[in-house]
Amino acid sequence: MQDYDKLLFAALILGPILFGALALISPSRGLRNAIVIIAAILTAGAGAFLITRTPLQFFMEPWTAHLATGLEFLIVLIVLGLAINIRSWLIAAMALIQLGLAASELLLPGQGGGTESAAPQFVVDNLALILVLVVSIVGSIICVYAIGYMKHHEQHAPPTAAGSGRFFFFLVGFLGAMNGLVMANDLKWLAIFWEATTLCSFMLIGHDRTPEAKNNAKLALLINTFGGLAMMVAGLIAHLSGHGENLSDLTAGWAMLPMALLCLAALTKSAQLPFQSWLLGAMVAPTPVSALLHSATMVKAGSYLVLRLAPAFSGTRLAVIIAIAGAFTFAAASALAIGQSNGKKVLAYSTIANLGLIVTCAGIGTPLAYAAGLFVLCFHAASKGLLFMCIGAIEQKIGSRDIEDMGGIMFLMPVTTVITLIGMGSMLLPPLGMLMSKWLAIESAMHAPLVLFLLVVGSALTVFFWAKWIGRIQTASYHREYKAEKLPFTILATLLLLVLAVVAGGLMTMPIFNAWIIPVVRGMTVAAWTADGLAQLDLAGQLPMWPFLVFLGLGLFVGLISFARFKEKNVREPFLCGENIQGGEHSYNFRSIGDSVNTAWSASYYMGSFFAESWLTPWVNLLAWMVILMLFGTMIGKL
């Protein structure tokens, strides 16, 4: 390990935290903005530079083990303090148990004795690299976006809201914690960063300090502390049973119970059913927080952990249950999204569903599935980050996040709307990334009938809510010309940057798959993988891209030509039985009984009788709890 690797390592983990602290204490907004931008550029640069240095292993000095223990205690104590502060005795109890676990781990001798120092504390392999790239690039873009967003938010936020300095500290610091999490190999360090992300999200969700925000922040803390608890138990068991206290030993040693516990922790963090409620509650936070939680950080930590463990449990009964849990989440969350008219909630459910897809892929565990999981992870981060940023901009303009209120924004804010359309299109349109990953996932699920069925149902449901929403936002009357709206520079720049990434990445899905994902997957050594499975991977990679590009290009090209050739004289009002009132933006007005003026209006279908959240949630949660119980039931069966 060279010195500048250490520097790189520090830049990725400590850099954002340090810059966040600077933002916290910076006296003026200008300075703070500059600090955030510098932090973003440095973090993204460091992330990109890591490509050239992978794979890396960091062996830390022995004294850092004590540092880790100290930090672990510190963070648990912070959680305990917070719990007492917000009077949540449940969280306090869990924190106390964690404290007890940490103490007993210190006191009880491990079976393995001194083997712990043998494994590196931090490891950067290809999986970690992909995550670091997502965190540091997409995350940084969101941080820069937040500059423009928060300026507006400060003026409209409730008076109780915390200062923007604190906001940026946690926002930027989040990236550091996340980078640490994905590179950590030692379970202690993993737990520390895991809890750190929980704390960051607690602070960010509660930012506005309204009663709702406080409540939802509490919920997030509760569920994620539960996950943290599971992780610590896993650590203790690993410690006592003599499996090394790090991921690489655990995965090599087939330590099933710790792995199941780690999976449980991962499910809570990535808001899989039945733990989805905290992520939905997190919507009260300012939108950059949602963007960050959903695309680059937090929930990705969970799916990352499952992917990390996947090679180890591949082929076991645990894997089967994990795949079912993910697929069930995929289907159920997509169904729940249909009944929602709150745009951010639809996005939240879609995130949960897509994370479910990643978990499914990890559970299926064939090379093709694994590649699909990686694919979803990357493309989802970019698309979802973009969509949240767009919705944030739209919400600030129209003052509502309800889908039904978004008709006509095509005229109000054409640039944002077109970017939003591209973002949403990337969820549905072949050959863009999300669709390709769904395709790979379904193909890899062919030998698991139940999982396959759930994926099929989920993918049919997905089309439903996206089409509905896209249809609403692009609804417009004829306008001779569209004037681009004024957006704050940071918002516009980040939107453009990310949409460019989504389009460029989307048009090159198969080359990316062949040039990058396949070598990554092939580079892994997994006992359960067969030559047959690897051949499947190559077969999927042979899908030719040209027909897609040719026809997408042709369709758009000819479409745009007719678009340009369509003149005002060709415009007619929509058919309203001839009762239209002529002219202008209000051409959808018509004369009704007694010559009164009415506006034609038709809301989207939400099918509330079946897809209502309040009705459906208890049932799907019940089923999801059953799956969680099965997860541990397989363990007991093994004992």
Binding site: R572, E573, F575, C577, G578, Q582, R591
Partner: protein
């Protein structure tokens, strides 16, 4: 005949009709008369239609609707007015709510008077309209004198039958 006159799609607008004409017109769709053999479809939507079939005299409220429906049809398009009501206001001419005949609102291409006209006469009127549609397609601007008015006494049903039969042959050709 070119394709345009082999696929006339109709939108039917009932102004202030007593429904006599409408019932007869709908009878044209039945197996007895089967206008679909000429490719005629009843689309019910001006945006897809080539022929606007109007029945009844125009009342004040109809004026704007008729204009809108006519405006929403893509060129080339023709208007066929069925029944005496459409040509003069018919028996409703002096009613308080009547604006007048159809040609006061939109240009009419074919009148099929009678009260109500027989389905054969209506089909004949539409077949006449096809000729006009064809000429309009070719870019011809039609003076109103050049537009046919079919007069048909009830006893002259026999006259109409050969015309319809002839049209049927043309349609199938």
């Amino acid at each position: 005949m070119s394709a345009s006159s082999k696929s006339p799609w109709i939108v039917h607008y009932n102004c202030n009709s007593c429904n006599g004409c409408d019932i007869e017109f709908v009878a044209c769709l039945t197996p007895m008369y089967d206008v679909e053999r000429f490719g005629i479809l009843h689309v019910g939507n001006p945006k897809h239609a080539d022929i606007l079939v109007v029945t009844g005299s125009v009342n004040h409220r109809d004026v704007r609707v008729l204009r809108n429906v006519y405006a929403q049809m893509p060129e080339p398009k023709v208007v066929v007015a069925l029944g005496v009501c459409t040509s003069s206001g018919g028996i409703f001419a002096d009613c308080y709510n009547i604006f007048g005949d159809v040609s006061k609102v939109i240009p009419v291409d074919v009148y099929v008077p009678a009260c109500p006209p027989r389905p054969e006469a209506m089909i004949d009127g539409i077949v006449q309209a096809l000729g006009i549609l064809e000429r309009k397609r070719a870019g011809e601007v039609m003076p109103s004198a050049a537009k046919p008015v079919l007069t048909l006494r009830p006893t002259a049903a026999a006259e109409a039958a050969p015309a319809a039969a002839q049209a049927a042959e043309q349609g199938n050709a």
